[in-house]
Amino acid sequence: MIFSSLVFLYAFLPAVLLVYFLCPKRWRNGVLLIFSLLFYGWGEPKFILLMIGSFTAAYALGFPIAKYRLEKPAAAKRWMFLSLAISLSSLFFFKYYDFGARTLSRLPFWNIPVFGLSLPVGISFYTFQIMSYTIDLWRGDASLQRNYAAFGTYVSLFPQLIAGPIVRYREVDGQLRERSVTVSDFSQGVERFCAGLAKKVLLGDPLASGWIYFRDALTLSPSALGAWASVIFYSLHLYFDFSGYSDMAIGLGRMFGFRFPENFNYPYTAGSVTDFWRRWHITLSTWFREYVYIPLGGNRAGKGKQFRNLAVVWLLTGLWHGADWNFLLWGMWFLLLLSVERFVIGVERLERVPLPLRRAVTLLVVFLGFLLFSETDLPTVGRTFGYLVGVDCRFSDVLDLYRLRVLLPLLAVAAVGCTPLPKRLLTRLSERCGGLTRVRPVLCALSLLFATAYLADKAFTPFEYFHF
């Protein structure tokens, strides 16, 4: 199930809200767990067992880790590695086995069977959450969760189950044990959810249509303008789609008394690639920094090791997004950019470049990176890169210009929408005329109304972050 569907909005959500708030507090984790499993199993019930198995193993192995952590650190470490191995084994099998088998089978004398496995929804997200519990527990950053329902709720909590934000265990440890929801919390959650829904359905999906249009047009009559348009529409779509979904998740969490970490902070206004990754999919970057980069040594111990650590993180980041060469190359593209910024240009020199120029260059390289991200077929990626610089195509055609003209209002709204300007404007107006706060419920209702209209028209695209 996805948030941007009629069945979620008008069946699942009212039902879970009703049952949750009618139940005594001590049952609420159980209610969320049951509804989350229903949410997860909606399209692919067979994978519920896999998820339950994964979190049950981590839950059970948490006890010896907590028990031996202080007295027998080596034993605790062994239990931790066992828990991580179990978590990672299902991720590796379902996500990477076929890719590995296909790749190795290309070598002489290797013939490994390919199973054609379908990827369990959200496996990368919940595996990382489980691992964060195990590691936090071993490090002593979190306490043992004895309540099975509470732990199951942490892993399977439907607002963030299939597309994040990736919540580290210690961030919600206390909230799993005790939380309350005020009218203010609930209403802020509603506002955030409606904003996310509007971003996803009213901007993200139409931008996706624009991208698909230009991408497909390249196969019939390629043009440089069409190639640039496809790159820009895709990049904007990805932001509104994913950040909209994150907003919905954060908003839903708030309605149920959880405070999830932020996942985006206007990434397309970043002044460098390093800055971009502080603003894009923040919870994933944080996870890798905390559980991979820093344990490997981080920025310490010389440039050589720093580069190695960076390379490991970006190799894993690429692979996390998908088991295909394009994702790997996408990770390497960012490794290259970040290395150039860090080791060749240097932070100080970079900051001397005027901000508008830095932003323009950052947008350009990030958007070009997303071209790699959007297409698994590498020859197609290569051809599209060629079209961007006018190889084997004309500059534009009359249909490109027509389509760009009619999509210009959408593009303009999207371009402004990915900057802090709308939020600043609303805050400033609210400060000047206090009555504006009354408009907020109306804005929520309008978002819901129009999103419903777009969903009723079936003008939505499957959520892309599903398969990561």
Binding site: M1, L9, G41, S187, L220, A445, L455
Partner: protein, 384 residues
């Protein structure tokens, strides 16, 4: 605090209200405006739940039976137009409420390119090769009437940079191919203010079909036998026709079309059989209360339709066709016994025009196929 409370209450009320209305509203199994079966309440079984089919069916059930669905679709259509797109779901809104589809699932060597508005030159070449091949093989007079898309005929109503594919195709046809330029004829009439295509549907009107009839007759060298317009009596059978563009575009404010049938004194002398069963004449009216649509002509879609005049033996014309021929047939039936074969049939492949025409003892052959169908299928590329 007050506005926070209002936000929370409004949100919950909105959700609960529609959640309840979904179950309270009467549900239907068929959408007349979309002409398709709707998903009804799915049945639960262990296997359907475990396979995920149940979840998918519930999703479809909600999407199909959602309360005020048509109103929401209209709201979305209005939002898209107000946003300056000028179109919704690939349906363009032109002057005076003229609608036209501009995006099609274009055929390509490997599969299709969905929702595209570009022409695939290779596919056009393949179509031309098929037509050239069929024309060269033909043993009886054969005419290809490739009816234009609304966007080509009503181009003057839109600021859309349309390229008429039939013009490109004609350049690729060899001299043997007899293919009147019906798009140009209809475009000229449209620009003169005549309603030759529906505003809310992809078909030609009865007047448009009449011009198609005139062009076909001229192409067969029978110009003198064309029955003048004045010999027919137009009868308006509905003024509330909302066709395929109207349904897909969601532009509820566009005025519906009227459908005319042109009657002729000897209409009662013709027998029409659709897939072997009597169809009751040129026009089949739906049950009282149901909207009248283009299916009125020759009882809608059938694989084989025959039209004969009682007690008279006449030359036989085999028409390889899509639905455009249904409103054309009543005109041609004044001169020929007709066998209409559906080129889009899922059961039978009629693309071997020569062999099929021989099997039906054709005296002449007419191919009536829309340009949009040419572009979105490989039917013509397989002509022999």
């Amino acid at each position: 605090m007050r506005s926070e409370r209002i936000t929370a209450i409004l949100f919950c009320a909105f959700l609960l209200c529609f959640a309840l209305l979904f179950f309270l509203f009467p549900q239907s199994s068929f959408s007349l405006s979309e002409k398709r079966a709707l998903q009804t309440k799915p049945s639960v079984s262990v296997s359907s739940v475990l396979s995920g089919r149940f979840g998918k069916e519930v999703d479809d059930w909600y999407a199909d039976q959602f309360p005020f669905r048509e109103m929401f679709v209209g709201l979305k259509g209005a939002a898209e137009i107000l946003e300056g797109k000028g179109e919704n779901n690939g349906i363009l809104l032109g002057r005076a409420g003229q609608l036209a589809r501009v995006r099609f699932d274009m055929m390509k060597e490997k599969g299709i390119v969905p929702d595209a508005d570009r022409l695939n030159k290779e596919h056009l070449r393949a179509i031309a090769e098929g037509v050239n091949r069929a024309a060269a093989n033909a043993r009886v007079p054969t005419v290809f009437l490739f009816t234009g898309r609304s966007i080509d005929v009503a181009a003057s109503s839109f600021g859309y940079p349309s390229v008429d594919p039939s013009a490109l195709l004609r350049e690729m046809f060899v001299a043997d191919v007899v293919s009147p330029n019906i798009s140009a004829v209809l475009r000229e009439r449209y620009e003169a203010g005549e309603a030759v295509v529906y505003r809310t549907d992809h078909h030609w009107t009865t007047l448009g079909a009449y011009y198609g009839y005139c062009e076909a007759m001229r192409s067969f060298g029978m110009e003198r036998e064309i029955i003048p317009i004045s010999a027919f009596t137009p009868v308006t059978v509905t003024e509330r026709f909302r066709g395929t563009f109207g349904a897909a575009g969601g532009m509820k404010w566009v005025k519906p079309d009227k459908i005319d049938v042109w009657t002729f004194p000897d209409d009662g002398d013709y027998t029409v059989f659709a897939d072997g069963k009597p169809a009751g004449g040129f026009y089949t009216f739906p049950p009282e209360g149901d909207p009248i649509g283009y299916e009125l002509f020759l009882d809608g879609t059938h694989d084989v339709v025959t039209v004969e005049k009682t007690g008279e033996k006449r030359p036989r014309m085999v028409i390889f066709k899509d639905s455009f021929a249904n409103s054309l047939a009543p005109f041609l039936a004044r001169h020929f016994d007709l066998v209409l074969l559906n080129l889009s049939s899922a059961r039978k492949d009629y693309t071997d025009l020569t062999a099929t025409a021989e099997a039906y003892n054709a005296d002449c052959v007419l191919v009536v196929y829309t340009v949009s169908n040419l572009l979105t299928s490989d039917t013509a590329a397989r002509f022999r």
